[in-house]
């Protein structure tokens, strides 16, 4: 009986095919990685509302007399109306006389809260002293519809109080600064026929510079409240 010899021909993979595939694969990986890196560097398109009142649209403060202009660093606003505030206190308060608050938060690393845990020995003293541990920056706006008065005037060695014209609206604001070497809280308060108003922000000192709005920006915000009256 004759032997039957079966020869299975193994597929031949040429080395140049392997090389070509590896190069192609490597090229594809490079393209994907480069695309991802470039894509991650692009910020989301920033949509700055044309009118700051859009920041509170759909909230209880939608129809409130409020700023039409805020600095570009402001992207968000949180509105609190009398019912919210009364509920937050946990006891009945005369809601008819409570103000409505809008808190504008400012974007940017310098305006972000840097606390890591609660204050204590885990916070290195030198970093604390440099201003490395600081809260988030915000601008608080409060409207008291129907009111004709400002808050009691603050006094102190580090306090300056002056009147400042609001050129667009033709009103005058009381600007109270707690001036601690150029930093500290600033209050801008004024009245018009519809009520009284307050803006509060802190010119903050951080380890990398400053945080918060400028006094000029606060004045511009105040001036914009009555901007559409004319």
């Amino acid at each position: 009986m004759a032997d039957v010899v079966t020869t299975i021909e193994e597929p031949k993979i040429r080395p140049e095919w392997l090389l070509g595939g590896a190069v192609t694969l490597l090229g594809a990986i490079i393209i994907v990685v480069v695309t991802m890196v470039i894509g991650s560097g692009e910020d989301e398109p920033v949509v700055v509302p044309a009118d700051a009142t859009e920041l509170t649209s759909g909230t209880c403060a939608e129809d409130l007399r409020q700023p039409h202009w805020v600095p570009d660093a402001v992207r968000h606003a949180v509105a609190e109306c009398p019912a919210d505030i009364s509920a937050g206190i946990g006891r009945t308060t005369a809601e008819d006389h409570l103000g409505t608050w809008i808190t504008y938060t400012l974007d940017g690393a310098e305006n972000a809260e840097t606390f890591r845990g609660e204050p204590g020995l885990a916070w290195p003293e030198e970093e604390v002293r440099s201003g490395a541990y600081h809260p988030a920056s915000a601008i608080t706006y409060v409207a008291y519809p129907g009111s004709g008065e400002l808050s009691e005037e603050l006094s102190g060695d580090n306090v300056t109080v002056e009147s400042q014209d609001l050129p667009e609206s033709g009103l005058e604001a009381r600007v109270t600064r707690v001036d601690n070497n150029g930093f500290g809280p600033v209050r801008v308060e004024w009245t018009d026929d519809a009520g009284s108003y307050l803006l509060l922000a802190t010119l903050g000192r951080t380890s990398t510079g400053t945080a918060g709005p400028t006094v000029t920006e606060l004045i511009k915000i105040a001036d914009s409240v009555a901007a559409e009256d004319k």
């Binding site: 600081h134 519809p145 009520g195 951080t206």
Partner: protein
């Protein structure tokens, strides 16, 4: 020669005048209490109602917890952070300039021409995921601290007005 009746009238008038002057001085002091408190911290009071007030502000401004009216190293670090951010000399002691800076952050909840009762001023800091708030009562209370639940610790009770005084932690009743 003045009669006994004249002397009595003069004496009575003097007493009345003294009482009026004392009342005026007291009123002025109570108004100014918030901005001219005693120092709090290692340089001053380390317990009592003024410490509660300072800690209440530091809770809002730095996340200090608990508010218990007892000064400690955490309170001092919180004060240093507050002072640094506000451009104050960093001492860890709540001195007059620091008190004034804290006071400037308090905003009336009610319109300024209406005296709402109970907690009527608030210090509010935006924080990740919400806010930190400290309340104070002024009208009918000569300023008092009002600490939120979850922040206060005995002997400080939450949702009670604590006298802003150098004395021990004392609850006071506000009108209404």
């Amino acid at each position: 020669m003045p009669t006994t009746r004249t002397w009595l009238q003069a004496g009575g008038g003097t007493v009345v005048a003294a009482l009026i002057i004392a009342a005026v001085v007291q009123a002025v002091n109570s108004t100014a209490t918030w901005v001219s408190n005693d120092p709090v911290g290692e340089c001053g009071n380390t317990s009592g109602g003024e410490v509660v007030a300072a800690q209440n502000v530091l809770w809002a401004g730095t996340g200090l917890k608990p508010v218990d009216g007892a000064w400690d190293s955490e309170s001092e670090v919180a004060t240093e952070a507050f002072q640094a951010y506000n451009g104050l000399p960093v001492s860890g002691c709540v001195d007059t300039s620091t008190w004034v800076t804290m006071r400037a952050l308090a905003i009336s909840l009610c319109d300024p021409e209406f005296e709402c009762q109970g907690p009527d001023h608030r210090i509010r800091y935006a924080a990740p995921g919400g806010s930190r708030e400290a309340y104070f009562a002024e009208n009918d209370c000569d300023w008092g601290s009002y600490v939120q639940p979850g922040v206060a610790r005995s002997p400080v009770a939450s949702n009670k007005v604590i006298a802003l005084s150098r004395d021990a932690v004392t609850e006071i009743e506000c009108g209404g």
